[in-house]
Symmetry: C2
Subunit: 435 residues, 2 copies
């Protein structure tokens, strides 16, 4: 990962951070780095995620999925961190015929199932606890669909879950191939494990290359504890400094359609890890060049509360624009689509600078397995650094529990769910049309 | 559209708005309503958009697309407002085999073209000015692909553009069926015209019902100028009040996968219309129930700068969850997926209220043509109201021009583009890995 902070400097933008401030901040980065290294060394909860590129056993994953390789479609059933990593990796690598059920929307579930040839579909069910309501509901629905088609679902299913829980019990009972969700790693940090890699492995992608790209892209064998040396720390530290100075929103804007899901993955990583104790930074999502015709108006001329993260691969496939009979657009003929999107990337970066709005540039070599590993891991490390600098509990997510308990109560699960009662006490000020 | 402001009240949330403040604000809503009505009556630029449900000639669109009906795939080539409306409508109605090229990403363009049977594909090219670089580049690429497949592209292409410009000239030269982009309507407000309706019409969707749903859902024949009477004004006024009180971010969170693109459309509408003069509100996007496992942590426990807009259809298709052999999850058996997602909707709304965070509930009857028309038009009217209350130029987008000029300069278009020079003067602080 390559990071350029030039357009986040106070000499360019407001909010912006001065070089002097970055020098001072670098002392705190060094301290945070020591904390991170200790956590990694002791395999502490969460910090253990940063060892995944070395700990994940790619061969074991490849062996487990071997009976399913060559399958026409691959369906992931999970939610949140148990689905987004897989979707991000499949999307970024442009893997075809990979699908995700990560919601309990009856229309989407119906449409997905009706579009699949279940006799030629592999299903990956992912839930660390083995109790996730949405995932198990979808699993039950898909299993029934397999049965209705006369397909032996046990031949087409692979499970990733923890050491125990209902999903492990079920997998054992039906003798399903089962991979262990990594210990001590929250779902949103688990992309570079079986949780995120199984669909790519079924599709024959280079998952070893992805792990190597993660490790080597950040030079983790010999990492420096300085924002001026380590790109992921540069991104994290500058983002923290900009947030402190008023950039309460971080607009993630990749210039590659295949990174659309990456922006969503980043949003989860950033929101769930840092959104605590009244702190955090709001991730917004945009797509370059498309959203230059949309959200850019706001980022250039709206409130000074937003920084933009511009992401691109340095190399793209070639696609030449044909010569044209539009007189005024003849300059496009012979240009490449890649050249056009790269010109737009640089134009947008300059247009933000011209308006005095901060942006950070993040680049990878190309959108291949190594590049994707590099990008995901770099952002994870950046996020852990920001958590240290903010002083929040990066690896917890206490605020999502309330709603889970209320849902269970509303659905009549056994137990005492007082949260469900609060749902009935809703404050109302309803405005309806006259009809 | 049904709107419930109960959880945005100061008695529930901070930031929140008191009933007294809403009463006072309603006088300004009445004044803004008069301004809007005058603009509509005089067909002023932008305000004219609010007449589209009556002005759009559904039969003319249906007639123009008739030769293409029954086509296997429908491809829209446009960008920004010239693509998002079509994508939103196709997505919300669950129309299959509709595709969009709204970026100049060579990988995506290649993958899209290779997945299509061009001999059985209809192409809708949309550019009001007829000069949009990205759209014309993609058009040239797709046209070449048609030719390489030996398909007569002139038989498979329909154009929506303005009265003149290069695209109009080309359409005339090749005798293509051409629809007029509506006069005086910026692209982001043009979904309910040929700009947004053509793919749905090719697919045989009920576009007349959509226009009727827009008009009748807001009761535009007899609209009341009060936030307590008109749901779209309730949404707009409360959002404005919450923004004034610190909700600088609006997280749009539909509980329906088919509304994913709607959230993107809303983000453009909100960002490009209101992001001016240092004002505006940042649209963020989330998906219920999925993002309860992700961004909800931030919205409940992060900075008090966010309001959440919860959107759902009141009716959904049925899909029963099968009885289960997971002991602890037997309460799910016999429940429906729709019942589950609705329980999650109410649980999330209550969980935000329990944390003192503001939300607004928006509902439509169902995700059909009428409901989608109702929702899109309601949000457009709400946006126009917020623009009046903020005092910004809702229908302009001056800040996006700089980057367009820089891009043209970088690509060597004829003319004097001094913006391109600024691109070369980029401020740098690059951090690269050691390798």
């Amino acid at each position: 990962m390559y990071v350029d902070l030039g357009n986040g400097l106070a000499s360019v933008a407001s909010p912006g951070v001065s070089r002097d401030s970055l020098e001072r901040l670098d002392e705190r980065v060094a301290g945070a780095h020591e904390r991170i290294e200790r956590g990694r060394g002791e395999e502490e909860f969460g910090y253990a995620a940063l060892n995944l590129p070395q700990e994940t056993d790619a061969s074991a994953i490849e062996e487990a999925v071997a009976p399913l390789s060559g399958t026409e479609s691959v369906l992931t059933v999970g939610i949140g961190g148990s689905a987004l990593g897989a979707a991000t990796i499949s999307g970024a690598l442009g893997l075809s015929d990979t699908y995700v059920l990560d919601n309990v929307d009856p229309a989407r579930t119906r449409d997905t199932l009706s579009s699949l040839d279940l006799a030629d579909t592999a299903m990956h069910v992912v839930s660390r606890s083995g109790t996730t309501v949405e995932t198990l509901a979808n699993f039950l629905v898909v299993r029934e669909a397999f049965e209705q088609e006369g397909v032996d679902w046990t031949e087409r299913t692979i499970v990733t879950t923890g050491e125990d829980g209902p999903l492990r019990t079920l997998a054992d009972r039906h003798d399903l191939p089962t991979l262990a969700a990594p210990e001590g790693v929250p779902g949103r940090f688990a992309a570079l494990s079986s949780v995120g890699l199984v669909p790519a492995a079924i599709r024959g992608a280079d998952i070893e290359g992805m792990l190597a790209g993660a490790w080597e892209g950040t030079d983790m064998g010999d990492i420096e504890g300085s924002l001026f040396e380590t790109p992921a720390y540069a991104y994290g530290a500058a983002t923290y400094a900009l947030c402190e100075r008023g950039a309460s929103v971080n607009a993630m804007m990749p210039y590659a359609e295949d990174l659309e899901c990456f922006a969503e993955w980043f949003a989860q990583l950033w929101a769930e890890s840092l959104g605590k104790d009244g702190l955090g930074q709001i991730p917004a999502r945009a797509m370059g060049a498309t959203d230059q015709h949309s959200q850019l108006q706001l980022y250039r001329a709206g409130p000074r509360n937003t920084m933009v993260t511009l992401v691109r691969p340095r190399e793209r496939p070639e696609h030449t624009i044909p010569e044209t009979d539009f007189g005024s657009l003849s300059y496009l003929g012979g240009e490449s689509l890649g050249g056009l999107i790269d010109a737009e990337f640089e134009a947008t970066e300059a247009s933000l600078a011209a308006a005095g709005r901060p942006s950070i540039r993040v680049e990878i070599d190309r959108l291949d397995a190594r590049g994707v590993g590099d990008l995901l891991y770099g952002m994870e490390l950046a996020c852990v650094l920001v958590g240290e600098l903010m002083g929040v509990e990066t690896f917890a997510q206490p605020a999502v529990e309330w709603g889970k308990r209320a849902t269970r109560g509303l659905l009549g699960a056994e137990g005492d769910f007082e949260e469900a009662e609060a749902v009935g006490e809703k404050s109302r000020l309803a405005v309806s049309p006259d009809r």
